[in-house]
């Protein structure tokens, strides 16, 4: 549209004396070049991140080869490093966080779009969005000083005594109640990503044409039946996209996780056991690594792996959410 509007305009101007046309043309050239350069700069940034992380991690990839990805060893003394434990921790906490957050986020979005009285919609929506604005380090402190003790004193002992006694599932809920650990980290992560998922769900639910919902109501459907039978099928793909967005956030979350995960380099069968994630290892061990050491390179290699993981998830999320915009 715009192209079509500008082009025919430029042609007759060329024929005229350059008095009015040329300053505009010069300004156009400069401004357009600046905009294009800025666009290119963003590409350079992402390219730079990938390349720099890979170059930094190269010595570690060279030293340990492909097994670096699943090796569970992490010994700074003998300089043997593996990413297995932290990749496991990253994925387990993120997936667990999604499992905890999605039902609640759905509830919030359902409430905000269908149930809430109109005057309450904005304040509640804003409050949930503010939850997303709280800095990660605040979640970390809150989790460490408030949630972890509650988990350690009340929740975990109770769960260990009941569910922990069951065969098979019980394995996941055993061990001493530290308060910190994989499960607490996942819980904090779930609270942190809840507003992102809820906001995406609310936005896509609102995009369902009212006619569809009204026809379902006209047939006598209850609110829940309209949600399940009309809204959810209509928005299915975008909802998954929103969940992936939350997953992408959860994978790379650093400060909050570092506070509450317990930071131990081992894979425990119990979800209450301590662990670590890629981001928490990088944040904690970085200060103790010398410039140019193999350990630093291993940390950068971890960063590269995290980047690949979150890139895949975020790209998938964007792809899924984009199909909504076009539809």
């Amino acid at each position: 549209m715009q192209q079509a509007a500008t082009l025919p305009l430029g042609a007759p101007m060329d024929a005229k004396p350059h008095r009015t046309a040329s300053p505009g043309r010069f300004g156009d050239t400069v401004f357009s070049a600046a905009c294009h350069a800025a666009g290119g700069f963003v590409l350079l940034l992402l390219g730079g991140i990938i390349v720099e992380l890979f170059i930094g991690g190269l010595p570690a990839f060279r030293a340990f080869g492909l097994p670096f990805i699943w090796s569970t060893e992490w010994d700074p003394v003998t300089e043997v490093f593996g990413a297995g434990v932290s990749i496991y921790g990253t994925i387990v906490t993120a997936v667990l966080a999604i499992l905890l957050a999605v039902p609640v986020a759905f509830g919030v979005a359902f409430y905000l779009t269908e149930l809430s009285p109109p005057w309450l919609r904005r304040p509640v929506g804003t409050a949930v969005e503010l939850l997303a604005a709280v800095p990660s380090i605040i979640y970390g402190m809150w989790g460490f000083f408030l949630i972890a003790p509650i988990m350690g004193q009340y929740v975990q002992p109770a769960v260990i005594d009941t569910i922990g006694e069951l065969p098979l599932i019980g394995e996941l809920f055993q061990g001493p109640p530290f308060g910190t650990g994989i499960f607490t980290a996942a819980l904090i992560l779930a609270i942190m990503i809840l507003p992102f998922i809820a906001a995406t769900m609310r936005d896509v639910f609102e995009q369902v044409p009212p006619v569809f919902k009204e026809s379902a109501y006209g047939l006598g459907c209850t609110t829940w039946e309209v949600m399940r039978g009309v809204v959810l099928p209509y928005t299915r793909i975008s909802v998954v996209g929103g969940i992936m967005l939350g997953l992408g956030r959860a994978l790379g979350e650093t400060m909050a996780v570092t506070f509450v995960i317990g930071n131990a380099n081992r894979i425990s069968t119990s979800l209450f056991g301590p662990g670590n994630t890629i981001a928490s290892v990088v944040a904690l061990e970085f200060g103790e690594s010398e410039m140019g050491s193999l350990k630093l390179s291993a940390l950068l290699a971890l960063g590269f792996i995290l980047f690949v993981l979150s890139f895949i998830v975020l790209a998938a999320s964007r792809f899924l959410l984009r199909s909504r915009l076009k539809a």
Binding site: A5, M13, T20, G24, G27, D28, V30, F31, S32, C35, H36, A38, G39, V42, L43, L46, I49, L53, G56, V104, F106, G107, Y111, L112, S116, V124, A127, V128, E129, A133, V134, P135, S136, I137, I138, G140, M141, W142, F144, F145, L194, P195, A198, L219, C221, T222, T223, W224, L245, G252, T254, M255, V282, F286, G303, L306, F307, S310, F311, A315
Partner: protein, 295 residues
């Protein structure tokens, strides 16, 4: 839904069955409503719990020396002055550098690259950067600016925060420019204005409240960022405004103090946490009111 259509059509003798079905459907509906209400309550309780904890612990530790003294060893009465100033400097510089770049990229996407494949790639990459783990941006700047120049520096911190704020400004700028009707553009072009003038004087001006919202949200986001500063500006316990050396910042100080075994340091961390949360939430509310007024 098929059950729904059956109800009115069903023969008279099925009325008991239909009534039971209706009761079950209503009960399910009530249950889901209740759960959804509870879910919203849970979300709000978490927010309230965070705020209440912060207020109790933060106000207890708040006193004038927090704003007048620099960070000191445990035992002596210290404050957060250097951390607050360090944060302000780094955030202000990152905003000053990141905003024009972000606006140009957003303008590029909305005015120059609609539908072009280069534009789509830039949009995709910017969205990835928006959600990319901030710790990786810290690692990147470490590799780019800290290693080659031989040390941690405030400028490196500024660079990391700049990279984080750019995609936020890009997103809102593009969204706001896209909302402007094309007829307005055509009218301006029709008056003989060059394109850059149309963008700067008409499009930017129409979108300004939205763009300011984006900038405020961006500031709120980078003010609380901790992870990327760990490897760039590192933190510093002394008073400094020298951007070429390690520089203190509020989040980093909170991080190191909260994890320390000293009670007075932990209290200072709470005071800092309250400060930063208040600032971030106020910026968010301010941003919303700016946008709300223009609508």
């Amino acid at each position: 839904m098929s059950a729904t259509t059956m109800q009115p059509l069903g023969p008279v003798k099925d009325q008991a069955v239909a009534a039971a079905l209706g009761r079950r459907r209503k009960a399910t509906d009530r249950l889901v409503r209740l759960l959804s209400f509870a879910a919203t309550g849970i979300g709000l309780i978490f927010l309230a719990s965070i705020l209440v904890t912060l207020f109790f612990k933060g106000f207890g530790a708040m006193n004038p020396s927090v704003f007048t003294e620099v960070t000191k060893p445990p035992g002596s009465e210290g404050g957060l002055l250097n951390a607050i100033v360090g944060s302000l400097i780094q955030v202000a510089l990152a905003t000053a550098i990141g905003t024009p770049i972000g606006m140009l990229v957003g303008t590029f996407l909305a005015e120059y690259a609609k539908g072009s494949s280069f534009g789509n790639v830039v949009r995709f990459v910017s969205d990835i950067l928006l959600s990319a783990p901030s710790i990786l941006i810290g690692l990147f700047v470490y590799q780019l600016l800290v290693l080659p120049f031989g040390g941690f520096s405030g400028w490196a911190g500024v660079a990391a925060l700049t990279i984080i704020i750019i995609p936020i400004v890009v997103r809102t700028t593009e969204d706001m420019l896209t909302l402007i009707p094309n007829t307005l553009r055509e009218a301006v072009i029709g008056l003989g204005s060059p394109k850059w003038k149309m963008i700067v004087t008409i499009c930017w001006r129409s979108a300004i409240s939205g763009i300011i919202t984006g900038i405020l949200l961006g500031i709120a986001r980078i003010a609380g960022e901790t992870a990327p500063l760990l490897f760039t500006s590192l933190g510093n316990n002394a008073w400094t405004t020298d951007l070429t050396g390690p520089m203190p910042s509020l989040p980093i100080t909170i991080y190191s103090y909260a994890g320390s075994p000293f009670q007075d340091w932990i209290e200072l961390a709470w005071a800092g946490a309250l400060l930063i949360t208040l600032a971030v939430l106020l910026l968010n509310i301010l941003a919303r009111s700016v946008l709300g007024r223009s609508k």
